[in-house]
C-alpha cells in the first residue's frame, strides 16, 4: 500500500516490430503496461501512473501521472513504432514529470521497458543511476527483446547504482511462450516490496497454477454450493471411471487388457467430451461453438492421456445435476444424450425419435399433455424427423416456461449432435429448418387461437 507516483517508459523503437514475443514486442509491452497500471491503482487508489515514449517521434510524455486508468489505456492506442530509444533523455524527462507530481507525499518510481540495444556505456549509466538515487527515485527495469553481450550487465549496473534498500528491481525476460505480462506478474515489479496487493497476489497465483487456478475454476468463497456440487460430481465420475476400468480389466486378459482399457477410456472420453460441450453450451451459448469444441477435444484427449482426471466430466455432471433439479424432461433429454454418446459416437438421433413408444413416454412426462388425445396421435403419425417432433412437443406444452426449457434442451441436443460430428454446415441447416418450423408453429398457433401462456 505504498503511496507512489510511477512513470512508465515505453520502448517504441524499430526493434519492437519483432515478433519473438507474441504477438509483437510492442504489443506485449502494451499488455504489460496495462497490467502494471491496474496493479498500481488497485494497491492504493491514490497511486498515480504516467506513460511516456522513449523513441518514435521522440521522448515525450503521453500521460502525466494520473489515477485514471481509462486515459492510460487510451493513450496506448495509435502509438507509432520507429526510431531509436534515447534512454538518458527519457529518464531525465521521467524525473521531471515525477518532480511536478501533484501529491508531493508520493514516492517516485520509474519503470523502464528496455527492448532495444543500450548504446551508453556503464559509466554513463551509473551516473544516471546515482542522480536518481540522490533524488530518492526508484527504478525498475524490464530487460527484454534484443540481447547483446553487455546489455544485461549494463542494466544491472544501472539498477545497482539506483538501488537503495531494495526498492529498485530488474527483470530479464527471455523470448518464449509465456507472454511478457505473465512473466512480470510474479516479479517484485508487480508485487511491490511488501510482497503483494490482492490483485497482484491473486493474479500471480492464477498464473502460477495455470488453467486450473482454483479447483474447477470456481472460487469456494464466491460460490460454495457450486464448488461443492462440482467436487461431488467429480468424485462420482471418478468412481464410475474406476468401475468401468475395473470391469474392462477383468473382462479381457493379458495383452488385450491395455487395448480395452484405452478403448473404454476413449469411450468415456467421448462421454466426457460431449457432456463437456453440453455444459459449455448450457453456460455460454453465445461463444463460438467450434472453438469450444476444438479446445474441449484437446482437453479430452489430454485427459485420456492422464487417465484419471475428469474435470470436464465433473463440470458436465454438475451442470446436469443442476438441470435435473430444475426440470425433469430436461434432465431426461440430457441423460439420453450422454447415454447415446457412450453407446456409439456415430449414433443417429433420428432413430431415437422414430421410436414411438419413447416419444410417447417423453410426451407423457410433460405436464399438460395427454398422449391419448387424438390430435396428439394424429400429429405423431404424420411426423418424421426430429425437427417436427420438436414442434409437436412445443405445440402441446401450454406452459410457456416449460416450452422455453424444451427449446433450450433441443437446441443443445442438436448442437452436440451436429456440431460435434458434422461440424457446422449441417448444424446450420438444422437450425434453419428449425426456425422455419417454429415460424410455422407460430402461424398455426395463431390461427388456432391459442394464447401464449
Amino acid at each position: 500500500m505504498v503511496l507512489e507516483a510511477t512513470m512508465i517508459c515505453i520502448d517504441n523503437s524499430e526493434w519492437m516490430r519483432n515478433g519473438d514475443y507474441a504477438p509483437s514486442r510492442f504489443q506485449a509491452q502494451a499488455d504489460a503496461v496495462n497490467l502494471i497500471c491496474g496493479a498500481k491503482t488497485q494497491s492504493n487508489p491514490e497511486n498515480t501512473v504516467g506513460v511516456m515514449t522513449m523513441a518514435g517521434k521522440g521522448v515525450r510524455v503521453l500521460v502525466t501521472p494520473t489515477s485514471d486508468l481509462g486515459k492510460i489505456l487510451a493513450c496506448m492506442h495509435g502509438l507509432e513504432v520507429g526510431a531509436e530509444a534515447n534512454l538518458s533523455a527519457a529518464i531525465q524527462v521521467a524525473q521531471l514529470a515525477l518532480k511536478h507530481r501533484q501529491n508531493k507525499r508520493q514516492q517516485q518510481r520509474i519503470i523502464a521497458f528496455i527492448g532495444s540495444p543500450v548504446k551508453y556505456d556503464k559509466k554513463v549509466l551509473e551516473t544516471i543511476g546515482k542522480k536518481l538515487k540522490k533524488n530518492n527515485v526508484s527504478l525498475d527495469i524490464v530487460d527484454f527483446g534484443e540481447t547483446d553481450d553487455e546489455k544485461p550487465e549494463k542494466l544491472e549496473a544501472l539498477v545497482t547504482a539506483v538501488n537503495s534498500s531494495d526498492s529498485s528491481h530488474i527483470v530479464h525476460v527471455p523470448p518464449g511462450e509465456n507472454a511478457l505480462s505473465d512473466v512480470l506478474i510474479s516479479t517484485p515489479i508487480f508485487t511491490g516490496e511488501e510482497g503483494g496487493s490482492g490483485f497482484a497476489a491473486s493474479a500471480a497465483a492464477a498464473a502460477a497454477t495455470g488453467a486450473a487456478g482454483f479447483e474447477f475454476d470456481v472460487d469456494p468463497n464466491v460460490d460454495p454450493e457450486l464448488a461443492l456440487a462440482l467436487r461431488l460430481s467429480m468424485e462420482e465420475e471418478r468412481a464410475r471411471q474406476e468401475a468401468i476400468a475395473k470391469k474392462a480389466a477383468e473382462e479381457s486378459s493379458g495383452a488385450e487388457n491395455k487395448d480395452h482399457a484405452s478403448s473404454s477410456n476413449t469411450d468415456s472420453v467421448m462421454a466426457e467430451a460431449e457432456p463437456a460441450s453440453n455444459a459449455t453450451a448450457d453456460d455460454k451459448k453465445d461463444q463460438p461453438k467450434d472453438d469450444d469444441d476444438a479446445h474441449l477435444l484437446q482437453q479430452a484427449l489430454a485427459m485420456s492421456m492422464e487417465e484419471g482426471s475428469s474435470g470436464a466430466a465433473s463440470v458436465a455432471d454438475a451442470a446436469m445435476a443442476e438441470a435435473a433439479v430444475d426440470d425433469q424432461d430436461l434432465a431426461l433429454a440430457l441423460q439420453m444424450s450422454v447415454q447415446d454418446a457412450s453407446i456409439s459416437s456415430q449414433s443417429d438421433m433420428s432413430k431415437v425419435f422414430e421410436d414411438r413408444s419413447f416419444v410417447t413416454s417423453i410426451l407423457s412426462s410433460l405436464p399438460g399433455v395427454d398422449p391419448n388425445d387424438p390430435s396428439v396421435k394424429d400429429l405423431l403419425a404424420s411426423l418424421h424427423g426430429q425437427g417436427e417432433v420438436c414442434i409437436s412437443l412445443l405445440f402441446f406444452v401450454e406452459d410457456c416456461y416449460i416450452k422455453i426449457l424444451v427449446v433450450l434442451c433441443l437446441c443443445v441436443f442438436l448442437h452436440l449432435l451436429f456440431s460435434f460430428m458434422l461440424k457446422g454446415f449441417v448444424f446450420l441447416l438444422e437450425t434453419a429448418k428449425l426456425s422455419y418450423l417454429l415460424w410455422k408453429l407460430n402461424s398455426f398457433t395463431r390461427r388456432q387461437g391459442y394464447g401464449y401462456g
Binding site: 487508489p45 507525499r105 538515487k133 537503495s164 497465483a205 464466491v222
Partner: protein, 204 residues
Amino acid sequence: MACLHDHSCEDHNCAADWSLFNHIDVPKVVALNESVAGSAKSVFKPWEQRLDTSGGFLESNEGDPELLVFIPFTSDVKVKSISVVGGPDGTSPSRMRAFINREGIDFSDAQNMQPVQEWELAENLRGVLEYQTRYSRFQGVANLTLHFPDNFGGDATKIYYIGLRGEATQNKRDVVATIVYEIMPNPSDHKTKSETGGGFSHVE
C-alpha cells in the same frame, strides 16, 4: 560540558531549552542523498545524547557531500536557534540553508530557491555552537528543510545531531492532513460477495 550560556550546566538544565525535539514528527523525517535509508531519523535525539552515535548517524553518499533534511513538526513551532554536530576530518557541513513550510523540495529546487536564512557553519564536534535564526521569519513553522550544500573537504558529509531550540505553539497548520480522502472507491472497503477472492476487479 561547555555551554554557550553564561552559567555552568550543573545549575541549569540545558536540555529543557532544546525541547523542540519533542515536537518533531520523527517518523516522517526524510533526507535526500543519504547513504543508509532512514538514517536521518537517528539525528534527532535529546540534547544529552547529542554526542552518542550508537543509534547511527546521517551520512551522505560517497563522493557527494550534499544533504537535504526535511523535518516536519507535530504542531507549529517557533525556531530560535539550530545546532548541528558534524563529523571529523572535514566531513562536517560547512554551509546550511533553511526553507520553511515547503514540502517535496529536491536538490534542484534547493539550489535555485532563495532560502529563508543561510549560515556559514564551523566545525562543531562537541555540540557547543548554535546558530541563531531571524526569529521573525521562523514563526509558525510546520516543517523545516535544511540543505547542506558542501562540507570541509571530506568525501562525504556526516551529521551526528541536529538540535532545535524554540517554542512550540499548540496550533496545527495542516489540519486536513489527518483526513483520508477517497479519490476512487476502493473495492476492498466495499466488499461484495462476488468480488472477494481476487481476480481482475473493475472500478468504473
